[in-house]
Structure formats: structure tokens, C-alpha cells
Symmetry: C2
Subunit: 470 residues, 2 copies
């Protein structure tokens, strides 16, 4: 589990040297072997130790990606695709060394088909850049994992975030993509049709495959009209259980709430302190409603009735965009806010997702576990989906604290599985959850490996991830 | 294309005889080798010629399915899973012979988790049976392909239908499934969590794989609350273009219309005659709105404004359930109604799906093509998704008419592809669209075959479908 899943694989020294040489000739300054650059490309927000690639190359076109893959394939050298480096489970580590493909230079928005509500973007486009670009069209791309992740990375990890309860995850919002596979061919996995029954759903296979099957060179995304009305607010509850029961009722009643985020007492305290706010310091739901003026108001009213039923005494509205931005910034900064609860500590972020009926039980058992283990572990969650995050605040220099954190995470994973949930709702498996994945989908590991071997027989695509092929 | 894709593969006579013998001993009367039963299991609503299995076996449990698969795997004998036999592209033909697994006896609803809005069913449960069972819970399963298909079959073909514009397709509504793979193991592809980033999305890989990767033994489905208010109506338009423009505007405005179905003039005439109705005999949209009382009314009002803008002069409401049932029965009977346009003829149903901005152009070009080709071909469509069906009324005894129909369908497929659409929005590939699939996703055929070979090296799972492995 975790650290023990970060193994170092066999290095093909000769192949790596040859590939770096060829690529250096081809890409010149756009291939970098400096230690600090390589370090940056392996060191992300994860607590897992860095495993550096041997070089970082910066392609600017799909053709260049294809050239890089072909060189690496010829020399059987690992390829690690890199977006914005915001993944959390060691996805971009290079356990066997190899070439990191940084897509930052592939950041063009290739096409917006406003009337079809879709667009085609390169993988290095970030979600914030896309939404800035789209603003004048009246459209937006709703998936919001918090970090300003790249579309390629979000696709690779099957990201979701605060809006998923209403708009779905990357699985639901990628119509098609182009991918350079391990044999150096660029394939297109679908069309712009909204739905299709045309053969195996390779689009969905590549979504969430964490770079282990190919390098994404473009993504066709669904877009949505910016709602006429957006209202948001913060709703404090007496207990986590009350808050979660309000969530369950909201979902069961089919209220199409756009965001419904839980912050526990610890996280609310941290958020108030970090963002200079003065929300009540107990569990709270941050909510948002999208719709026509009438319908957004009706949803808010229905939700208000539910909240009152579960003991919420007030509803702190944020109707103006500026207030809403402040509210959601506070929510998105929860990770950083949480870190202030223990100055000097660093966060270990993890996530699980359970059927919503088990959510309250799962969160409370997790809080008790943290208290017993003596770990400061504030909780935030995309609770409309049954998904929540725990940020463990530890001293990453302390082996004991890392071991305690890993044991805690292992218990959390098992708790989620025992409730018919998953060990990761949105972060992905990477290196850190490989053991948990075996516990979760034991019978699927071999089929996944069979698919991997079929499509990438030399195991050059982001090796050492998901199912432990090193 | 079509007929030419229906090849007869090599028959493993010895293996088939051995497997039938073993299974006869094991299943007794539940294994049937009679010609008429075998004929029924290969002859569906497709125009493609039947290719009979050698035996039909009726398992009642997942363990029995596993036993059957193991026997067939041991003897390298093809397996053809069978649901309700409503597929349209030769999906259940047995080009190499083999054993048809009829899941009619696996029709138990294993669990309804009302508070999590999900349920677990066996593959032989039909969508109508499921909804009857659910009625008292206040929940429903929305996917409605018209025919009373089985959940296993709908999963296998990635079915959708009239409600997909609001509720998605099978891809969006299967949370997990259990499948017996070609090696005779039963695997579970996911959990009951609403979302997950736990490894390759095998659930989505199996959805739409048309039985070529395994036999489904249970499916976990999303459910939805029955809306407080359902209103429906018929809205005639001066031209198909006007109707389609109203659809485009409705989708672009984000009105979450539950159903929006186009019937062209020919189909409206047929429907009036068949169902004893007297709707205006021009192009029309059949629509339905779901929501709270206020919101369903608001949607209907907004749609009414759009329809008026595009020349619709009236809106024939059906607010009572009985009227609604009549309206949707008329829509669902369109295929049978269409057949009356040419007494004695049989229908060849086909479907394509294009980006919505191209829909009007695609439908009108298709109508012109039919007129020029002298084929009576009424059109109905799930137009909110850009998906439409053409029912070609032909004399199936006439080689010329079949050839004309196939040429027409080939042109239709190419037309859809040229508009960035797909050759099948919901029927699947089966045998009939194998050539079209190559035209559509050329680069994906080899990865699909690689996956197939990896998971089913002896090609026993529904051979001869999708990508022409025979």
C-alpha cells in the first residue's frame, strides 16, 4: 500500500541513452535533462517519493508526439505523459526512468462548435484557460477538480470534482480523443456524435487509463450553456450526519443541484482562519444551483426546506458573482487551509467514494479513526456523489507518521470497499492505490493487464502504474 | 456492407458435438437442439439471413453460465448470448455455429437500493418488467429503446432510445456488472459507487461489446425518481428543417427535455393510419418534459416559444397518463406503422447519429436520396441526440431491392460520417455495420481486435461481430 507500491523497475540504460540522444538532436533545447527540471516533473502534490525521468521533452504538435513515441518505442524506453502535475498518487513518477512528455506547449483550443456544444482542445489546455476562452460564447466546461489541471491530465485520471453531481465526470464529457498508441500510430477514438454504439468504447477505455495506453494529443469535450441563474450559499448543520442526510434527501428528490460540498468542523475552522471568513465553525454544506431564474430559485427553496428539516438554522447566500467566487475559492483552498491546522506539516490527500446511503457512516467512522490514530485529518467532500477527501497532516520527514498515515489510508480504503464503494472516486490509482485496487477489483486486474499487454507489449507507456507492471 | 459482412466462419464440428453432448447431460431439457428453437434464436428483426446456433441452452444462475462457458471454452466452441432477440444488426447470428445462451430464465431483480437510486438485476430482466417492479418505489429506469429489450441485451448493444437526451444511454446508467469471461471466470467490473477512478473502465468496455468479450450475469443500474410532473405533446412543423431547428435551439438553451422525437411526414401519415389518430400529416415533434410541477410547465412554455418561432402553429398536449401512453405507443409503434405504407413489405431498420447542427441537412439529404432511389423510407428520430432511424420498406425476397437498400444504407452511413457523425447511434455494429465501422474508426479496429484477442484468444465469444473476426 502506498510507499511499498513505489518500486523501482528495471532500467533500460542503453535504450534510454540512445533515445535521449536521438530526441536531443530532433528537439534541441526542447529536450531538457537538467536535474531540477526532471525533479519538477516527478515531484507533485503527492507524498510518494519522486522517481525522476531521464529527460523532459516539450512537443508542440501531435506529429512531434508521434515522433517521440516512435523513438521511445524503437528503443523500448518508458514514456511518462505530463499535464499540469497536479495528480496525487504518483502518476507521473518514472520508476523505470524514461522520457517525460510535457504537453504544456500543446495548449491550443483547436475548435469550438458552439451550436453543437462541443470543442476540440490540445491536452495541455488547462480547464481555467478553456473557460476564459469560452466566456464570450455563453458556454462553459463544467468539470472542476479544484486544481487548474490540464484537460489531458483530467482525461487520463477520469477527474471530476465539485460539479460532477450535476454534470458528470470526464467519462461523461469526453466525446472522443486522438491518442498516439505504443506503436506510434495516432488513432481517433470516436466522432462528434453525442452517442454511438459503434464498437468497443475506446474513448472510455482511454479515459482514466493514466497514460498507460497512449499519449493523448487532442480531446473533444462536451460543453454546456452558462446557466441563466447561479445561486450559491453555505448551510451549517448541527452534525455531519445531519448534513449528509440533507444531501441524501436532496439527491433522492432529484434536485439537480450543481454543487454540494461538505466541510467538516475541522475544515471549517481551517477555512475561516485561512480565508478570513466567519462562517459558523461546525459541519457545513457549500451548495450551488443552476437553472433559469425561476428554477434555480425553486431548487434553492426545496433544498432550504430539506436543510431546515435536518436542523440547519440558516442559509448564508452568495448570489453575486463576487461573493460566489469568494465562497468557492475558500472551498478550493481547503487543502491549503487544512495545512494551517498543523504548521510545518504537509498534507497527504486521499479520496474514496461510497454509495450515498453509507456516506455519513463512512465519514464518521473515518473521523473517529483519525482521532484514535492521533492524526489531524480534515475532511471535505463532493458528497452528492458519495465522494470525500481526507487531508492527513503529517510530518513527511517522520517515518512513523508516514507509516501511520498509510495504515490510516489502508483502513479508509477497506472501509469504503466494505460499504460497496471504491478506493478512489477521482484521484486515480497511480502508484499509491495499486494494492487497494487489487482489493477492490481483484478479478479485473488480470483483464486490465491483458489489455495493457495487448496494446503496449513492451510496457513503455507510463509503466508501474495502476496494476503494478514494472 | 450488410449482407456481404455475413460470412460463414469455420465450424469446429468435433468440439461442437462434444460440447453439446456434455451440456445435454448437464442441462437435460434445458438444452434444445430442435430446428425451430434454433431458428427462433437466430431470426430477429434484422433483414440479414439467419445463421443458426447448434443448440440453445437456458441457464438459471450465474454458476450455470460459468459452467456453460467452461464447457465451450474447453472445446473451443462459440457462445452467443441471447436476451430478448430485439437487436437489429445480426448480433445473435451464429456464423460459426455454437451454443446460444438464452438468459430468459435469469430474470430476477436481485436487489433494489432505493436510497442509493440503484438496483441489481439479472440479464434476462426486460426493461418493462423492471419498471413494473419498481413502480411502488417511486423510482424508474429511464432507458427506453422502444422494444421490450432485456437489460443484458441493452447493455451489450449500448442501447438508448427516446429518453437518452435527458437520462443518457446504457453507458451512463450501468454502474457495474458481473461477466463470465472467456476463461470461465466471473468478474465484477465495478462497485456501487456513483463514480470511480479505479483503473481501466471495464464496465464501459463491456457496455456495447455485443457479447464478444463475455456473458453478462448481472447488471447494476442507476435509477431515477419518477418526476413529480410529466407533460407531453405533439408539435407539428411546416418542414423538417423547422422542426430540427427547434430541436437545436431547445438543446442549445439547455432545456432538459426528457424526450424529443421527430416523425417525418411519411411516418406521421403511417402513424395516423396505424393508430387511428388524426395528427396533422406533416413533420412533427413528440416531446415530453419531466420535473416539478412548476419546472415541467416552465420547460413546456420555453419550448412552446421556440416551436412558435419555427412556425409551429399548435401544441397538442397530452397531460393525462392515458393520453401520454397513447402518444408514446404511437411513437413506439412507428416501425410497425411504417410497414403499412407498403403492404407486404418488410422493414429494414437502420440508424445513424450526427452532431445536431448537421441533423436537418442529414435528414433532408436522406429523404431526397430515398426518393431518388425509389425506396419508401419513413424517418423517426431521437433528434435531441442527433440520432435518427430510417425504416426501408422492401420486399425481402427481391435481391434487387435488398441490394438497393444496402446501397442506400451505405450512402446513409457515409453521409453521417462526412458530417462527423457515427454509423450507429444505438443499434450497434453486429454483422450489418462492420464495413461502416471500418470507415468510421479505421485506426481503432486493430486496437479493438487486440483487446478481443487478449481477452478471448480462442474467439469463442460471439464471433464474427463488430470487427470481422470469424
Amino acid at each position: 500500500m502506498g510507499l511499498s507500491d513505489v518500486v523501482t523497475g528495471p532500467r533500460n540504460e542503453e535504450g534510454i541513452a540512445a533515445a535521449v540522444g536521438v530526441l536531443k538532436q530532433r528537439f534541441g533545447d526542447r529536450l531538457n535533462t537538467g536535474h531540477s527540471i526532471r525533479e519538477q516533473h516527478a515531484h507533485t502534490t503527492t507524498y510518494l517519493p519522486s522517481q525522476l525521468p531521464d529527460a523532459v521533452v516539450y512537443p508542440e504538435t501531435a506529429d512531434e508526439v508521434r515522433d517521440i513515441v516512435r523513438v521511445c518505442a524503437d528503443h523500448k524506453v518508458p514514456i511518462i505523459p505530463f499535464g499540469a502535475g497536479t495528480s496525487l498518487e504518483g502518476h507521473i513518477n518514472a520508476p523505470n526512468g524514461g522520457i517525460c512528455i510535457d504537453t504544456v506547449g500543446m495548449n491550443r483550443i483547436l475548435k469550438v462548435n458552439a451550436e453543437d456544444l462541443d470543442c476540440v482542445v490540445e491536452p495541455g489546455v488547462t480547464r481555467e484557460d478553456l473557460n476564459v476562452y469560452l466566456r464570450d460564447t455563453g458556454l462553459f466546461f463544467p468539470i472542476d477538480p479544484g486544481a487548474n489541471a490540464s484537460i489531458g491530465g483530467m482525461t487520463s485520471t477520469r477527474a471530476s470534482g465539485t460539479n460532477a453531481v450535476r454534470y458528470g465526470t470526464m467519462k461523461d464529457n469526453v466525446l472522443s480523443m486522438t491518442v498516439v498508441t505504443a506503436d506510434g500510430r495516432e488513432i481517433t477514438t470516436g466522432t462528434r456524435a453525442r452517442k454511438s454504439s459503434a464498437g468497443y468504447d475506446l474513448t472510455r477505455l482511454f479515459v482514466g487509463s493514466e497514460g498507460t495506453l497512449g499519449v493523448i494529443t487532442s480531446v473533444t469535450l462536451r460543453l454546456f450553456g452558462i446557466p441563466q441563474s447561479i445561486t450559491a450559499g453555505v448551510c451549517p448543520f448541527p452534525t455531519v450526519d445531519d448534513a449528509v442526510n440533507a444531501v441524501i434527501m436532496t439527491i433522492q428528490m432529484g434536485i439537480p443541484i450543481a454543487r454540494i460540498e461538505l466541510l467538516d468542523t475541522l475544515m471549517m475552522k481551517a477555512t475561516n482562519a485561512y480565508a478570513g471568513l466567519n462562517y459558523p465553525e461546525g459541519p457545513a454544506l457549500f451548495v450551488e444551483f443552476h437553472g433559469t431564474d425561476n428554477y434555480a430559485a425553486e431548487q434553492a427553496e426545496l433544498f432550504g426546506e430539506i436543510a431546515a428539516e435536518y436542523g440547519s438554522s440558516e442559509f448564508i447566500w452568495a448570489t453575486e458573482q463576487e461573493e460566489r467566487n469568494k465562497l468557492w475559492k475558500a472551498r478550493h483552498d481547503a487543502y491549503w487551509a487544512g495545512m494551517q491546522l498543523r504548521p510545518g506539516a504537509e498534507g497527504v490527500a486521499t479520496d474514496v467514494c461510497v454509495p450515498i446511503s453509507r456516506l455519513g457512516e463512512c465519514i464518521m467512522a473515518t473521523q473517529e479513526d483519525a482521532a484514535e490514530a492521533g492524526i489531524i485529518a480534515p475532511i471535505v467532500g463532493h458528497v452528492g456523489d458519495g465522494n470525500f477527501h481526507v487531508a492527513l497532516l503529517i510530518d513527511r520527514e517522520s517515518e512513523k507518521e508516514i507509516a501511520d498515515a498509510e495504515a490510516f489510508i489502508a483502513r479508509l480504503n477497506e472501509r469504503a470497499l466494505s460499504m460497496e464503494g471504491t478506493c478512489t472516486g477521482e484521484h486515480g490509482v497511480g502508484q499509491g492505490k495499486k494494492t487497494a485496487l487489487i482489493h477492490e477489483l481483484d478479478g479485473c486486474i488480470e483483464p486490465m493487464r491483458q489489455i495493457k499487454r495487448a496494446l503496449d507489449p513492451d510496457n513503455i507507456m507510463n509503466p508501474g502504474k495502476i496494476f503494478s507492471l514494472t
